[in-house]
Symmetry: C2
Subunit: 409 residues, 2 copies
């Protein structure tokens, strides 16, 4: 590559999205790219020409190692939706103008479904207007709901955090319960896809009894059936821990959390900000059974807990960033790097590049065949899929007793 490049981060952060930036940077430097810019707050900041020179932070290799250990989006993220091209050509022209101004040959964008839509729109615009600039998508989402790719960087670390935390919660909950069980309900992210909630199933093992029930948004949530299940569990166990997706919904489509709060906030993409499902269900259980209940929401910790990142995930996040640059170097554009699993045992995964049009705006759910018949659990097919993704650790660099992060000046 002769010119410079720019990389941006978009959407909800993950524990390893910075590893993808590290991968982009290191590949570009290997290719002799002069400057690797970083968009401050994604395409939204880029449109205002807000960038940093990543070399200021990463030319020293300890910077790269620190970046890998830094949670959230080092460059800043955004939830900016590119407008339809027709009638908004000025926005698109602005992107190309800024790219030309800084001699930027290729733009790399790390994100999920919505962000891949940005890559698609920009590469479509370039194709339609004979622009030479190239656009590559770098997959990232804790939600694991991008199609084509076997899984998404960010998922493995979120799954590891969820499974490890559920194990700790189960031990805590089980410590009481000499006489009556405490019913603990844990709420996990995932608006439409249950991948994150499914990770609660990984807690089960020789040293852990596992969750007593797991509710994904892939199945309809029936409150009466749920209450029956809880009453049965409470009568038969000394501790009850249940995982529910924030996205569990009734047959009529309403989210359970909307029963508690009708005025759910909505973001720029029209997505509802879901929260309070566990609290609502815990109150219901307490009222109907008189048992002690507890509601826990992992909230942003499940996407920010880099101190517990999966090394497999860190490495794959780096790889997709690295391969995006290498693929662009071949002259390609309008593609996203995918992770292609070759084998589960032993785990073996390669990368390739795929047309962004097949990816943007498509959501992939947990296969119905992986959900147990009663709709309250995952079978061994899921474990076979997910277990390799949480393997390995990247030890944080501790300074003054806390994990050290890299931050923008």
């Amino acid at each position: 590559m002769k010119g410079n490049i720019v990389v941006g981060q978009s959407g909800g952060p993950t524990a390893v999205i910075n590893s993808s930036v590290a991968g982009v940077f290191c590949a570009a430097k290997e290719l002799g790219v002069n400057k690797v810019y970083g968009m401050v707050h994604g395409i939204e900041g880029f449109l205002e020409d807000q960038m940093i020179d990543l070399g200021d932070y990463l030319d020293d290799p300890t910077g790269v190692e620190l970046l890998k250990r830094t949670p959230s989006a080092f460059l800043g993220s955004c939830r900016f939706k590119m407008p339809q091209i027709e009638g908004h050509e000025d926005v698109y022209e602005k992107v190309f103008e800024i790219m030309e101004k800084h001699d930027i040959e290729c733009l790399f964008y790390a994100g999920g479904n919505d962000s891949m839509d940005t890559v698609k729109m920009l590469s479509d615009y370039a194709a339609a207007h004979n622009k030479p600039q190239r656009f590559m998508g770098v997959p990232k989402t804790i939600d694991n709901d991008l199609p084509i790719t076997d899984h998404c960087p960010g998922y493995g670390s979120a799954a590891k955090y969820i499974a490890a935390s559920i194990k700790e919660i189960i031990r805590d909950n089980a410590s009481f319960g000499a006489k009556k069980p405490t019913v603990c309900i844990v709420e996990i992210m995932g608006r439409h896809a249950g991948w994150l909630t499914a990770a609660a199933a990984l807690a089960k093992g020789d040293d852990c009894e596992g969750c007593d029930a797991i509710y994904l948004p892939e199945t309809v949530f029936d409150i009466d059936a749920f209450m029956e299940k809880v009453k049965y569990l409470a009568a038969n166990r000394s501790s009850v821990v249940i995982a529910v997706s924030e996205g569990v919904h009734l047959a009529d489509g309403r989210f359970v959390c909307e029963l508690a709060n009708e005025n759910v906030a909505v973001d720029a993409f029209g997505h509802k900000q879901l929260s309070g499902t566990a609290a609502y269900l815990a109150q219901l259980v307490a009222a109907q059974t008189g048992l002690k209940t507890r509601a826990i929401e992992f909230s942003t910790l499940q996407r920010a807990a880099t101190h517990l990142a999966s090394l497999t995930d860190v490495n794959e996040a780096y790889e997709v960033g690295y391969e995006a640059v290498m693929t662009a170097e071949e002259g390609k554009t309008g593609m996203m790097i995918t992770l292609d699993r070759k084998e589960s045992t032993p785990y073996l995964c390669a990368t390739s590049a795929f047309d962004i049009h097949a990816i943007a705006n498509v959501e992939r759910s947990v296969p119905k065949e992986w959900i147990t018949e009663d709709g309250c659990g995952l079978n061994e097919e899921y474990e076979k899929y997910a277990r390799p993704l949480i393997m390995g650790e990247l030890t944080p660099l501790y300074v003054n007793g806390l994990p050290r992060h890299l931050v923008r000046k």
Copy 2:
């Protein structure tokens, strides 16, 4: 010691209460004690003669190492309050009967204020009735509110978890905010004492802007002043993260969380189960400012996250268990082991034994002099006190990608 001993765990678990059991076990074995029993679910289970032989788990030293890495109360905990002696002599006689039956010379009880009351009552009863059995308290509480001792085992690990998680939350929250800040309110445990919430102050450093405000229960919470503060912060920062104690209360004594839910549940000791403070305040901020808000409760994770335990804390928890046995060996009874700080820089701490009567049922708050004048932060005196307590890590033993725990069969 000629006879056997028994150890129990009581009250809310901590990340390191099992290290205290390890300390008791190892000291007893060093002294040639025959059997070290563990009460299953504290004194409540003990009264029903429910015990395990700890040797079954810990004779192999890998068991001790695994126990140190196991969250919550390995033996099971309870919230059982010993009744007043008068009129309930049968309950007390039952304790001694079970001790005699198993040739138990000394009882060790790891817990907080309420549990130290149990030690006091039992040792008082023994003294009044010329019983030879001895009773020793082993300090444990994430709340850090026991008097006399410089700090309590369990606090350092909870503080480390809180500070590390707040750092991750601050990075997450700061990743958006190109245009308008998100106001994130984090709720931290601590009914009357603000020690845990104060730990949010440790997040601040070279690589972290720290919390924008920290509200302890040691000061009266004024909702109008809080809203003013939030509006000021929101107008001047691109990210706002605020830590509040679950125990923040109004001038009239009502907990803030009671404003959201009047029917707060109460436990066996008459303590209200506090929750929902952050959610209530976040809704208030959203309604009054229109800003995006987020409420996070650490809930039980702050006391169960052994994967992020402080090594200093692990070692001190072990030490107080160990010293309790050594002190009992000298013939002493009715005492609790305290941690006596000799120096903060470099950190140096010893142990001694103190009369349980001065400790039971007394709660120690964060000194007013350590709270900043505006009531929304901690000064460097607190950091000098707390920083040494979060130092060091104990690497979990990872199996299949998750920290391994020791569990009762």
